[in-house]
């Protein structure tokens, strides 16, 4: 085998493990309704075990409630929302902006799910993708699943660290 062919084969092999990303289960969700976001973590950071998962709650997503996960403790960061929303007859302007699961240890190549309950306000635009930036911290290294394509377009296949997203559908 020629040297350049060998090199390109090595390059392909080196790149392939990164093709599995932290994802949201379920392809779509309706605005103006409750949404259970299930984050799927398929592996650690470049072979290292996951020790913490941080999820940022985007604007327009309220009434967040983090579900406990076995072996992990949950913390939340509260803050002001970008606007004021009507929720179950009340006006809300602040709430959870970030959910962190920590204290556990998820070995590499082991799949796990982390769940939050939310409400998608009807100010969110249907037919766009809603992104939840995720920071995966490991024993060694950090993977930041935070890349959001410009103009609300879908991820280009070149994106290496795409933020997990869900396609929004009109209010039912």
């Amino acid at each position: 085998m020629s040297r350049s062919a060998l090199l390109s084969l090595l390059a392909v092999l080196a790149v392939s493990p990164a093709t599995a990303h932290v994802l949201l289960e379920g392809k779509q969700a309706a605005v103006g309704s409750s949404y259970e976001a299930v984050f799927v973590v398929p592996h650690g950071c470049k072979g290292s075990a996951t020790t913490k998962l941080r999820v940022q709650i985007p604007d327009g997503v309220i009434a967040t409630e983090a579900k406990p996960a076995a072996g992990w403790s949950v913390e939340t960061v509260r803050g002001k929302y970008a606007g004021e929303y009507d929720y179950k007859g009340a006006k809300v302007s602040e709430g959870i902006k970030e959910v962190d699961w920590s204290g556990g240890k998820l070995p590499d190549k082991t799949r796990a799910e982390f769940v939050i309950e939310t409400y998608l306000t009807d100010g969110l635009k249907p037919d766009t993708t809603l992104y939840f930036p995720v920071v995966q911290e490991c024993e060694e290294g950090v993977s930041r699943w935070i890349e959001i394509p410009a103009d609300g377009a879908v991820h280009s296949h070149e994106s290496k660290w795409p933020a997990p997203g869900v396609r929004l559908t009109p209010k039912p």
Binding site: S4, V15, R54, Q56, P133, V135, R144, I146
Partner: protein
């Protein structure tokens, strides 16, 4: 006293010549050469390594049309071209012809594309026909200064009798015509105009404004003194001496060598070199004439010249060596650069010239002293000297077209400017060539203020060559910029660069661009 006043004027003219450094080179441009933009830029800025004067600067749009509505503005080291708002999609070309501080024009072009690149042809901005004439007038000017003025000085001070007067007068005349022609051609070259434009004032005016202007005026004045020295026998000695000083000053007022730093060293060196050349070459034609004519009277003149020639050769060698070291910077440049190759050829011819001079001094002159009829071998040898000298002048005149290695920009870092609404990244890549390069990432917000990033990562790739992403973290330096050292750029060509600036834990700004890596 009139001579003293003339000398004072010559001295003032040279002192008022602006300080200068070297040939200008394009250091960077905005947008950079080859950039592909989403929308037309409002302006194109060309940044040079020194202050330049704008000659002919043109914008050719993607339709191949020369845009006369593009205003050109020179600001110190930059030339700014205002881009008309209705620029069509595709590749536009900005061709430039600017004047270096040393008076030499520098031409080139950059392209940028709006939308996608198209095949817009770069206009031919080399005036090859004029180049030949520029070279010819340069040779003519050297003939006037060296054979003409040097000849006038020789017959007045060393021979002390008229000889080869016709040849000297002809050389002086050729010198004046060449100096005037040189000025006009320089203007044409700067403005990119055809020969017919010599009838207009524009090329003359712009050429006079360059450092070549005063230099040629001094040369014309010096040649005038030389002509006067041939006509007015009584004052011949003083007039020819003034002409000689003027020849040296004319050469020291302009050109690559005279404007190289440190000028306190290079300008006097060029002056002495020029005067030395005139002393030597000026003697050749009259000596041949004297040897062919009255053989008995020739010996004392030849001996007098022999005495003068030794220190002259020493001065020529010393000043020539000094200037060569300053201009070349390295031995390798002798064969690796055009400038160095010309110098190598010149040195070869100089070696022949010195060989002939040594032969004349140590063999043929003593032979003449023993036997007055032995003039023929000496005059033949001097004729060969003339040929070698003419060869040197024609070779040296080619320097007009080659920048010395000193002024080339091998170590200027490659600058890449990436700009979006959100952010503005300036990336400096040193040395910007194949090998191990260091990167400096200057991250700024869209308004130019420093962007405070938590992390900055540089990712390089070259998809065309199958080189996948090389990812390197940046280290923030005390200057507030991010540094990435020892990045391997293994192959020349177009590389892709991505910079990720982590602004918060959950947000990063990513900008991407291509840049070209040169060989060597």
């Amino acid at each position: 006293m009139r001579i003293g006043a003339a000398l004072a004027i010559l001295w003032l003219a040279i002192c008022s010549a602006t300080p200068a450094f070297a040939h200008a080179s394009l250091a960077a441009s905005e947008p950079r050469d080859g950039a592909v933009l989403t929308q037309a830029p409002k302006r194109v800025a060309l940044h040079f390594n020194e202050k330049v004067t704008a000659g002919a600067v043109h914008l050719i749009d993607a339709a191949g049309k020369l845009r006369d509505d593009a205003a050109v503005d020179a600001r110190d080291e930059a030339i700014v071209v205002a881009v008309p708002p209705d620029l069509p999609q595709g590749t536009s070309i900005v061709s430039y012809r600017v004047i270096s501080a040393d008076g030499h024009p520098v031409a080139g072009s950059i392209t940028f594309s709006v939308g996608a690149p198209t095949a817009t042809k770069a206009p031919d901005i080399t005036n090859s026909g004029i180049s030949g004439l520029i070279w010819l007038t340069r040779v003519g000017l050297y003939l006037g200064l060296f054979a003409g003025i040097g000849g006038a000085f020789f017959i007045n001070w060393i021979a002390r009798e008229r000889a080869a007067a016709t040849v000297i007068a002809a050389a002086l005349g050729i010198g004046v015509i060449s100096a005037v022609g040189s000025l006009g051609l320089q203007g044409l070259d700067l403005l990119g105009l055809p020969l017919s434009a010599l009838a207009t004032a524009a090329p003359w005016r712009i050429a006079l404004g360059t450092s070549l202007g005063p230099s040629l005026l001094i040369a014309i004045a010096a040649l005038g003194f030389g002509i006067a020295a041939m006509r007015v026998q009584r004052a011949g000695r003083m007039l020819s001496a003034v002409a000689m000083v003027g020849a040296g000053l004319a050469l020291a007022a302009s050109g690559h060598a005279a404007t190289a730093p440190p000028q306190a060293l290079t300008r006097p060196a060029v002056f002495l070199h020029g005067v030395g050349v005139a002393l030597w070459l000026g003697a050749l034609a009259p000596l041949i004439a004297i040897l062919w004519g009255r053989k008995a009277a020739a010996l004392p003149i030849v001996l007098r010249f022999s005495t003068v020639a030794v220190p002259v050769v020493a001065v020529l060698a010393l000043t020539g060596l000094t200037l060569a070291i300053i201009q070349l910077e390295s031995f390798g440049a002798l064969v690796e650069t055009k400038y160095g190759i010309i110098l190598s050829i010149k040195l070869g011819l100089v070696a022949i010239l010195l060989g002939l001079a040594a032969l004349n001094r140590f063999r043929l002159t003593p032979a003449l002293a023993r036997d007055a009829s032995a003039a023929q071998p000496l005059s033949r040898s001097i004729l060969f000297e003339c040929a070698a000298a003419l060869g040197i002048l024609t070779v040296v005149a080619s320097w007009r077209f080659t920048p010395p290695p000193r002024s080339l920009l091998p170590d200027a870092p490659l600058a890449v400017h990436i700009h979006t609404d959100k952010a503005m990244f300036q990336v400096l890549i040193a040395p910007g060539r194949v090998g191990s390069d260091s990167f400096v990432l200057q991250l700024m917000n869209g308004d130019g203020s420093l962007l405070h990033a938590k992390e900055a990562t540089l990712t390089l790739s070259m998809p065309a060559c199958g080189i996948e992403e090389i990812e390197r973290p940046g280290v923030r330096g005390p200057d507030g910029f991010w540094h990435v050292a020892n990045v391997p750029l293994a192959v020349p060509g177009r590389w892709h660069m991505r910079i990720d600036a982590l602004v918060t834990d959950f947000q990063k700004i990513t900008l991407e661009d291509d840049f070209d890596v040169a060989t060597q």
